[in-house]
Each structure stands twice: as structure tokens, then as C-alpha cells.
């Protein structure tokens, strides 16, 4: 069973320039603060919520030929989503103009089938009730509700900001599906001092992301699995692009 590729008039996407990312983690912190992801003091990296996670990539060579790169991984908002199709209760879906894969926390039963299905590890489970150090809950951001234990969560492309941008456009009687470039950006894109993350409508030629995604240096993660992600990566480095997907030894670098 595969999922139908839905066509949207607008498609929010990211173009992440790996050659600009220094792996500082500001995007991860901004994401947590924006989306009220609780801080966790755990040495178990596999049990902590990271809507956005920065991976360290290595070209595998020895000194001095070694090279490394940092690759931030938000939810890829796949066009052909492996996750939403398997959710038994429609707690996650991709049915809204913009093509963001939603996650409805009050609907989620916490079966984690979507997590098993996602090859990007973009989905996270609330293994415990969220706890903020005493007093820190006063600094919660007003826009995103806090999730209880037992539900799956993931990057929403700061969907609330999309809603706010649409509201603004409505008030100003503009087309809500033709927002200006930069009118709606995610917290991570906004936070990056290196400008490594460009956010915009991949279908809108007026948006930078539209052009960048078409760059010959652009690639997507695990494209050949057919997930059709809405997150693109850029790198001048051949070896970085090669790590975007699996290739058999006899296939050469660009499969």
C-alpha cells in the first residue's frame, strides 16, 4: 500500500544549506522554546524530544583528508508520507493547503506506528509527562499547547505561525495562499545566524526557497524511497550529497 501524492497549490518547504551550518544548535533551542518542547536532562539521546536534530556527518576519510558537515533534520513533511498513512486514528494527516504533515495531539493514541514508519526519526514520543524546572513554565510560549505523556509529536513547520500569517493576510484582504517571502518562517530558520535554513513556498517563484530547491546542488534525504520530502538540502560537497541517499556500490554517486 502506498500513499497518493497530494497536489497542493502551495507547498511549504525548507532548503537547508549544509555548507553554512556550523552545528551550533541555536535552531534546536529556538525550536524547543517556540514549540514548548520540555528540556530534558537525560543522557539517553534516544529518549529525548528533538523536533529538529542536528546530525554530524563525516566523509569517513582519515586525517588530513577528513571532512565533516552538520545536517539539521526537521520533519521532512513528505509529499508521499510514510507516517500519516499508517496512523490508525488520523491523528496525523496531510490535507491542508501548504502540505504540512499535521499532528493532532488530542487525537493521538500513542501507538507509535508512525514512528516505526518514518525513516528520518523525525517523530518523537512523550515517554514521560513534560516537566519544566520549577518556575520555567512561566516562560512557555503562548502559541503551542503542551503535550501530555503518551502522544507522538514532531516538527510542525511552526504551523501556528502559518495560521498567524494567514490571519494577517486575511485582515489585510490579501490572498492567504500568496504570502510574501519571509512573512511566514519557522523558528529555526529565523534563529540561524548563518542563514542556513531558508523557508518558503516551494511552489511560489517569488520565494527564495523555490529557486534554491531547484539548484543543481540540492538534494533530499532518501529520495529513492519515494517519500518526496518538502525539505531540501544544499551542498557543494559531493560526499555530503552522496550521504543523502543509499546507493549500491555499482551505482556511482548520483543514483
Amino acid at each position: 500500500m502506498t500513499t497518493e501524492l497530494k497536489k497542493f497549490r502551495i507547498r511549504w518547504g525548507m532548503v537547508i544549506d549544509v555548507d553554512k551550518c556550523t552545528g551550533c544548535g541555536a535552531c534546536m533551542v529556538a525550536c524547543q522554546a517556540e514549540n514548548n518542547v520540555p528540556p530534558e536532562n537525560t543522557s539517553n539521546r534516544r529518549k529525548s524530544l528533538n523536533w529538529l536534530l542536528v546530525y554530524e556527518l563525516s566523509n569517513g576519510k582519515s586525517f588530513p583528508g577528513h571532512d565533516l558537515a552538520y545536517l539539521p533534520r526537521p520533519c521532512q513533511q513528505c509529499g508521499t508520507y510514510p507516517c500519516a498513512s499508517v496512523c490508525p486514528v488520523i491523528a496525523t494527516d496531510k490535507n491542508e493547503e501548504g502540505g504540512i504533515v499535521s499532528q493532532i495531539y488530542p487525537r493521538c493514541i500513542g501507538c507509535r506506528y508512525c514512528m516505526a514508519a518514518c525513516p528520518y526519526h523525525a517523530r518523537y514520543f512523550n515517554w514521560r509527562d513534560p516537566v519544566w524546572p520549577a518556575g520555567m513554565e512561566k516562560n512557555l510560549s503562548p502559541d503551542v499547547s503542551v503535550r501530555p505523556r503518551g502522544v507522538v509529536e514532531k516538527c510542525s513547520f511552526c504551523h501556528h505561525r502559518f495560521m498567524q500569517a494567514k490571519d494577517k493576510a486575511r485582515v489585510e484582504e490579501r490572498d492567504i495562499f500568496d504570502l510574501e517571502d519571509g512573512e511566514y518562517v519557522t523558528a529555526c530558520a529565523e534563529s540561524c545566524p548563518n542563514g542556513a535554513i531558508v523557508f518558503g513556498d516551494l511552489n511560489n517563484p517569488k520565494h527564495r526557497a523555490h529557486d534554491l530547491a531547484a539548484s543543481p546542488q540540492a538534494f533530499r534525504l532518501l529520495e529513492r524511497l519515494g517519500t518526496d520530502p518538502q525539505v531540501y538540502y544544499l551542498s557543494r560537497r559531493e560526499w555530503v550529497r552522496a550521504q543523502g541517499d543509499n546507493r549500491l556500490p555499482d551505482e556511482g554517486n548520483r543514483g
Binding site: P82, V89, M115, P119, Y124, D129
Partner: protein, 418 residues
């Protein structure tokens, strides 16, 4: 009432004409089982009160021991629907001698699996959303539907047996009810077979549809990936012998003959035949997976395995030692009729299916799909083991009571005539 001095205190409740051990002995047997049960209940309490953080599951292994356990017991519990199908629909009469046990084992497996699922899902209070907000495209929705429905069917199939309890059977209403249920049993067996085939399949389908997970992903027929059919076949290829194994274990524990060898042999032959069909297609599937599915994903066969924990030995065990070997042992009559080989085959058969469910669950998730990701190893912790053993203990208790007070084995009186 032929109340004898030396009859156990609860002798009045025993099935007509059968003797049972003393109540004291029975209670002593229940003691260790109850301890395991309590341990499991404590684990369940931990999970429900503080969340799944207490388990060894994590964001890489959203599925772990519990799902493996569920899938395994559901496959092994398939003896119920398949024996029911053969007994009531295809009218293979001798199977009436083991159908009661098959139903009880099925009931234990399914209700146990549901118990574990309640723990395994993060929001048990929302479990019914599967019906209320069903996503008909999800294999899991189908699983939720069928498992719950089939569990009800199993209850209905279990009720007439329970009503045959000597004291209950004296109440005219219950007796008539039991009789009527018996009359309708083929209908329920039919419904059960239908539901069960589908959810066994859907459980396999759950993995086969995960196109983001090359280890599990399979193409298929219409909306059903090949794993759908393989899971059905593997379940019917192992369920019947699991029922036999349970019967034999009960014979060992009680020291009484419960099911005749003939019946066991029939069950073995049925399972063996189905296992052959399964293994044939499983080999075909594996070949296609290696030759076509994996290369399409840009991955090689070798990439699917890692170190010792996720090594190729698991596949060798699953397909050859626990696949081909029991096929031969169960199908060839001369081999099947040697009890030692028969039981060995039955054990291997069940083990093979457990390995299959394990690798489909755990290895699928352990294998890194992103080239820059790494293999990760999953180790279940005590909470997961305790909750799984809770089901085993619950099964033991249910079987103990059923055996002691219900006429489970029609042949028992005859086989134990002294």
C-alpha cells in the same frame, strides 16, 4: 452426590467423572504463578501511572518486546481460528477433541495481547479512537477492528464451554443458552476465521507497507503487501502445533493423558502442510526482497544485518533451522510419528515464527535508513519482561482453572481409564 472423604474440597465443581488434584496442591501450584502475575501487575501499574518512560523502549524502538510478544502470541493463538475453521466449517470431526483447548489458548493469546496493547499505547484511555476516528487506510485500524472483534468471538466461543461447568450446567437457562451457542458455533467459527485471517494479514501488512523501512517493506497484491499473506500462512502454520504443545505441557504438569496422539498428529500434519506453503512463499519473498526491493532502495542484503545481535544467523535460524526442518519433520509421516521429533518440530516451528515476528519488529527499526545514521541495539528492560510474563501467568491461571473445572478435553476420561 458421591462425596468421598478424600475428594478435594472443590470436587463438586469438577467436570463430571474426572478427578483432579487436591485443592492444596492446586493452590501451591498457583502460588508461583500468582507471584509472576503480581510482578507483572506492578509493572503494568508503573507504566499506567508514570508513562512508558519506565520501559526500555525509545524513539528508535517505538516497537519492541511487547509488539514482538503480541505478534507472536497472536500468531501462535491462530490455532483457535484455524482449528475452528477446520472443525466447524470443513467438518474435520476429530478436531473436536482439541478445539476447546484451541479456543482457550486463542482466547488467552488475544486477550493477553490486548492487555499488553493497553500498556503499550501511550493513551490507553483513547484506545477506542480506533473505532471512532478510524483511518481506513491504516493496516493498524484493521488490526484494531479485527482483534477486538475476534476477541469477542473468542469470548462467545469460550462461554458455552464455561457454561458446561457442572454446577452452572444445572441451571436450565444456562444449559439451553450453551446448547444454542453450540448450534451457532459454525457461524462464529466462520466469523472468527474471517476476522482472524484479516488481522493476521494486517499485522503483516503493517510492516510490509512501511516503505520508509527497507527491511520490512514489500510490494504486494492490490493493497496487500506480501507480508500480509505471509503472516496469515505463518500463523496457521504454527498455531495448531502451539495448541498441541500447550496440551502436551498440560499433560506433563497434570500427569494425565489429555489428547490422543492421533489428534496431535493430525494437528501436526495440518500445521506442517501450511508451514510448507508458508516457507515456499517466504523463500520466494526473501529472494525478491534481495533481488529487487532492496536494490531499488539503494541497499544491499549485507546492509540489513549488523554484528551478532542483528546478524544473519537469525535469518538462517528462521528460514532453515526453524523453517525447512520442521516442514520436513511434520509433513513426513514416519518422522512425525516419532514423538521426540514431532515435539522438536513443533518447538522449532513456533520458534521460527517468533523469530520472524521479532526481526520484522526490531531489526526493521534497528537498521539505519539514513546513510549517516547508525545501528542501534534494543534491550527490553524488566518492565517489559514483567508485563509480558504477566500475560504468560494470566494464561497459566486461566488454563489451570479451565482445566480443573471445565470439561476441556473430551478424550480425557477415556484416555485415563484405569
Amino acid at each position: 452426590m458421591n462425596a468421598a472423604y478424600n475428594a478435594p474440597l472443590d470436587a463438586e465443581l469438577f467436570p463430571e467423572g474426572l478427578s483432579r488434584c487436591s485443592l492444596k496442591k492446586f493452590l501451591i501450584w498457583l502460588l508461583p504463578v500468582s507471584l509472576v502475575l503480581l510482578w507483572g501487575l506492578y509493572a503494568a501499574f508503573k507504566v499506567l501511572s508514570t508513562g512508558l518512560g519506565v520501559t526500555g523502549l525509545d524513539d528508535y524502538f517505538g516497537f519492541g518486546l511487547w509488539i514482538t510478544f503480541d505478534l507472536a502470541v497472536i500468531a501462535l493463538g491462530a490455532g483457535a481460528f484455524f482449528t475452528g475453521l477446520l472443525r466447524y466449517i470443513l467438518n474435520i470431526d476429530p478436531l473436536k477433541n482439541i478445539i476447546n483447548l484451541a479456543v482457550i489458548v486463542g482466547f488467552i493469546c488475544y486477550s493477553g495481547a490486548m492487555l499488553v496493547l493497553v500498556l503499550d499505547i501511550g493513551q490507553p484511555l483513547r484506545a477506542w479512537f480506533g473505532y471512532w476516528h478510524a483511518n481506513v487506510h491504516s493496516m493498524l485500524t484493521e488490526v484494531i477492528f479485527c482483534i477486538t472483534c475476534y476477541c469477542i468471538v473468542l469470548v462467545i466461543e469460550y462461554i458455552p464451554l464455561a457454561l458446561e461447568q457442572r454446577q452452572l450446567n444445572r441451571i436450565p437457562f444456562l444449559r439451553i443458552l450453551a446448547h444454542n451457542l453450540h448450534v451457532f458455533m459454525p457461524l462464529f467459527a466462520g466469523i472468527g476465521a474471517f476476522l482472524s485471517t484479516f488481522h493476521q494479514g494486517s499485522l503483516g501488512g503493517m510492516y510490509g507497507v512501511m516503505f520508509g523501512r527497507p527491511y520490512a517493506f514489500r510490494e504486494g497484491f492490490f493493497i496487500w503487501p506480501w507480508t500480509f499473506f505471509l503472516f496469515v500462512l505463518s500463523a496457521v502454520g504454527s498455531g495448531p502445533v502451539f495448541t498441541v504443545l500447550v496440551a502436551s505441557l498440560m499433560e506433563k504438569i497434570t500427569g494425565r493423558k489429555l489428547v490422543s496422539w492421533e489428534i496431535k498428529s493430525i494437528m501436526g500434519k495440518i500445521a506442517g502442510t501450511m508451514l510448507c506453503v508458508y516457507i515456499f512463499f517466504k523463500f520466494l519473498d526473501t529472494w525478491w526482497w534481495i533481488a529487487d526491493s532492496l536494490p531499488k532502495a539503494g541497499m544491499s542484503f549485507d546492509q540489513m544485518f549488523h554484528g551478532w545481535v542483528y546478524g544473519k544467523w537469525l535469518m538462517v535460524m528462521e528460514l532453515f533451522v526453524c523453517g525447512l526442518v520442521p516442514c520436513v519433520l511434520l509433513v513426513k509421516k514416519s518422522l512425525r510419528d516419532r514423538p521426540a521429533l514431532f515435539y522438536l518440530a513443533a518447538l522449532l516451528d513456533c520458534a521460527g515464527i517468533v523469530i520472524n515476528r521479532y526481526v520484522m519488529t526490531v531489526q526493521t527499526l534497528a537498521m539505519p535508513v539514513m546513510p549517516f545514521d547508525q545501528w542501534v541495539v534494543y534491550t527490553p528492560n524488566w518492565v517489559e519482561w514483567a508485563a509480558s510474563l504477566l500475560v504468560v501467568a494470566y494464561g497459566a491461571v486461566t488454563l489451570s482453572f479451565s482445566y480443573r473445572y471445565l470439561p476441556v478435553f473430551p478424550q480425557e476420561k477415556e484416555l485415563n481409564r484405569e
